[in-house]
Symmetry: C2
Subunit: 399 residues, 2 copies
């Protein structure tokens, strides 16, 4: 069995961007890389085989969903997540905290990016030093998630990369709350690590999470803390601010003091502009439900050149809405420059029809395309970093 290690193979001369090789027992991930969300141990609309065909390196599953259904004991009995879902590549699970703390039934990403100023979800019953008590979204039963429990569940699930439990604070909390929460998350991280080390057998590697919200001194304090513990990698957590500009500032201040020898994951971020920004700050991996969720709503990710080929302004347009009636008799593929299974075989007109007719195949077709797009984007970013042309490459993907 291969062991875990992370090697930086190239550093940009003009930014903090870097190329790396993240080795796991299930294979090597070339970084920067995008991690797709197989929330309930399934990519919505694509098989593990499809994901491989569209050049996917790594996927993740959500501990929160799997601990409630089918339960970690079932997944463990079935040989762990890789065997359960037929995915033989690298895989990550989160701690489960994100959903408990941030998710009612809405979008997690909106919350963490500060676009929604909601308070706690009603399903969250209690947070204290021990952990968090919440009601299951499936049957309303009470569950308690502690740092130790999260690691135990993630151990049973068996992903390669696992993550410590942290408190995800709502966006609107003040510095005093953020600081208290950060310290509790640090104590939880230490407890997570202790539980992890009890049975560390080389099959999994643990990520710590850097906290501190939008406050530079807290971000530095938190970086010092995670650097001091033997985590394999770091995730950038906590509030990233109220908008994209603030997010960029917060990511920069969070990244600067982190140990550069460890891989860094940016949680729940996956817009094209966010990825370019993150890569320039040295982020190695990203995850977001956006590409696959967008697909289920009829949206195909496309580069700006596509709008130009239609004689239209590409400004701010990252996707094409195939529900639009203009596509009903359009025999062209979504993107003639795309090598995905969908663009090789199906037309915009047919996908438009599938969406209108509410055929399952529409989601499948668009999911394959968006997965391929993200993998193609990240491959292009890696190539550009290698030749120090990231700014030039960015112009091909963002206008």
């Amino acid at each position: 069995m291969n062991s875990f290690h992370f090697t930086v193979t190239h550093r940009s001369q003009t930014s903090k961007a870097r190329l790396g090789k993240l080795s796991t027992p299930h294979g090597v991930v070339d970084t920067p890389a995008f991690i797709f969300c197989a929330t309930k141990a399934a990519i919505k609309g694509a098989t593990s085989h499809n994901m491989r065909q569209e050049n996917t390196q790594i996927i993740l599953s959500n501990t929160y969903h799997l601990m409630l259904q089918p339960g970690p004991e079932i997944v463990e009995k079935m040989g762990g997540l890789h065997s359960f879902m037929g995915w033989d590549g690298p895989m990550l699970t989160d701690s489960g905290g994100f959903q408990i703390f941030s998710l009612g039934h809405g979008s997690v990403a909106e919350e963490v990016k500060g676009r929604r100023q909601s308070s706690r979800p009603k399903s969250l019953l209690k947070i204290n030093e021990e952990g968090a008590t919440f009601k299951s979204y499936i049957d309303g039963k009470r569950h308690t998630l502690t740092p130790e429990k999260s690691i135990q569940v993630q151990r049973a699930l068996g992903a390669d990369l696992i993550v410590v439990l942290d408190e995800c604070t709502p966006f609107h909390v003040d510095k005093s709350y953020t600081e208290r929460s950060m310290h509790m998350s640090h104590r939880w991280a230490a407890r997570s690590l202790k539980e992890f080390q009890k049975r560390a057998d080389g099959r999994q590697a643990l990520y710590g999470i850097t906290q501190g919200g939008v406050y530079p001194d807290l971000r530095r304090n938190s970086a010092d803390f995670v650097n001091s513990l033997p985590f394999f990698g770091h995730a950038v957590g906590g509030s990233l601010g109220a908008n994209k500009t603030q997010m960029a500032e917060v990511v920069e201040m969070a990244m600067e003091p982190l140990d550069p020898s460890r891989p860094v994951h940016l949680l729940g971020v996956g817009g094209v502009s966010d990825i370019f920004y993150g890569v320039k700050q040295g982020i190695d991996t990203f995850d977001c439900v956006h590409p696959t969720r967008l697909a289920r709503h009829g949206g195909a990710l496309v580069p700006p050149s596509l709008w130009e080929s239609l004689g239209e302004d590409p400004q701010g347009r990252e996707h094409m809405n195939l529900r639009n009636a203009r596509f009903r008799d359009d025999p062209r593929p979504i993107d003639e420059t795309c090598g995905c299974q969908t663009c090789q075989t199906l037309s915009r007109g047919y996908i438009h029809h599938l969406l209108k007719a509410r055929e399952l195949l529409a989601m499948h077709a668009l999911t394959l395309h968006n997965v391929h797009f993200m993998n193609r984007l990240l491959a292009a970013i890696r190539q550009a970093i290698a030749v120090d042309q990231l700014e030039q490459e960015k112009k091909k993907w963002l206008i």
Copy 2:
């Protein structure tokens, strides 16, 4: 371009079962064969590529659905059904009449098999010599389908095999209604043929439909009629009776007088026992939504040997309900003897989880399995006919 022909390559010594080669411009179908329903130009839960991988020879689409959405002019502009949906094999469309006459929002198959004694659907506004007027299930707009219009629409859709418009009578009508309806359907068939011959360019072949309900003299009269016209093939239409026993009798009386040189299709029938019965009566092709619809409800078609391997009585059980809690931690594939993509990669436990979690992938996985099962069943039937062992083969599939 290949032309249409049908060659009987072997006749059973012990029944009317036969092997054939049905040649079309898009390839040859080895008969007996099962035709899968891509109702709205899409198999629900599988791509055209998936269908090929699971050994599918031929599929059909429904003229009724496609004439309403996206409309024949769109499909024609997109290069016809084959190009539109990316299926390069043989294909059939029905006339559209079946849905107009028999379908409210319930099951067509239940109606034609006499299991539902409903009267006409509310959406059917008028039937007269000219044709049928009905309301669209999508937007309530009035449409009139005539024999000529059905052929025109099917010409635009561009399937290889097309079918004349007939009146599908409700089950409970008396002999006098059945006879009058039969004669009108004969006149419609002659009009369909005339319209077809106006532009017969060798790209499509037309099937007539034999009528006559459950009445032997009418069945003979109708067979004489369709035999007398230059149809490429025949479909067995009209009421098949109130139950499986009567259906068997009606199929026998309908088949006996039909021209044996033409291929015969049995409309809307696809249970395992029905297929064995039909094959023994000389039926060459079958279609039914059952295998793919069952998949979407969590059912996997399995042979009796599977229940025996579980130590259970296989009597009357043609499928396994993967929603059943007994499968939640079952690491075995649905059927260890099955070669489908699903049985090669996924377990009963995982599919159970996907169903409980309402993941799209559940429908996909079960659809692939059921498609493979039907193709495997028909291949086994063809092999058995070749060596005159159909009765022995039947015991492996039905108890």
